[in-house]
Each structure stands twice: as C-alpha cells, then as structure tokens.
Symmetry: C2
Subunit: 87 residues, 2 copies
C-alpha cells in the first residue's frame, strides 16, 4: 500500500523521528514522508517511532491507500525532497 506520513513533533525529538521515518519512507518535505510500505513494516515503523516520541505531546498522521491508482501529487513552488515515482 501507499502511505503518506506527516509528523508534528517537539524540536528535541525531530532528529530521531526523521532518522526512523527515513528507514521506511521517502522524505519529500519538512516532516512529510511518502512511499510504498507493507502493513508489517508500518507496524514496526509505528513501534520504533512511538518509542522515541511522547504520546501526549507529539502527533503523527498516516494516510494509507490500498492502491495509488486514484492518487495524484502536485508540487507548487520548489521540490524539496526526492519524490517517489509511484504517483
């Protein structure tokens, strides 16, 4: 499945969150990641991430799509990260 992950994390924990997310997904913009991922890997990403984040202070939203056939992505302004060619 295709996933988009966005996090809003306290500054002191951003570096760790970034490092973990980059192992699983592609960084496309400040605190935004995307890419193909399996349910199992998404579960382990969640486990690793929530082990370093604070449940009551930090926020992570994950959008998942069974297939990206109906998905389009456009960028206005500059392209910050590399973008997966999946959509």
């Amino acid at each position: 499945m295709f996933a988009i992950l966005v996090y809003d994390v306290q500054e002191g924990r951003v570096a760790k969150a970034l490092k973990i997310c980059r192992k699983y997904l592609i960084w496309v913009q400040n605190s935004v990641f995307e890419g193909e991922i399996t349910e199992a890997r998404l579960r382990s990403l969640k486990g690793e991430l929530m082990a370093v984040l604070e449940e009551n202070n930090d926020s992570v939203i994950v959008y998942t799509f069974e297939n990206s056939r109906y998905t389009k992505r456009v960028t206005w302004g500059i392209e910050r990260g590399s973008v997966s060619n999946i959509i």
Copy 2:
C-alpha cells in the same frame, strides 16, 4: 475529490498561508490540511496561495484522490486539529 495539502513555507509567510488554506480545507496538523475540494476551488486556492508565497523558496505539495474509498487515516500520539470524517 479529496485532497491533502502540506506546505513548508518561510516563517514570515506562514500566517498568510494558514489563513488562505483554512478557507478551502480543514487544518489537521502543523502545515497539514485535508478535505473535499473541487478542481475549480483547488485552482483558486493555488492562485491565492502562490500570490503570497515565493515560488523559489516555499514548497506546497497537494495529494488528490478521485475518491477516498481506498484511503485510511490514523493518528499516532495526540490529535492536533479537527479531522474531517471523510476518511
């Protein structure tokens, strides 16, 4: 169609970008918006937004989905904004 908009905008322009995006979509997290939107309204959102942003410094990514039937959203940690009950 359903849209997710994420922006990475220079601090001095965030307030304007936030105000414009909130007219069209629902704020769900720091620099993340989602909701149903028509092609026409997405075009006018783009027009308004890019009139206040700097094409070479600011970045906006918009994911659009023909329908949100295949889309799921989960939040890990705290829920920052109100979330549309569309997905």
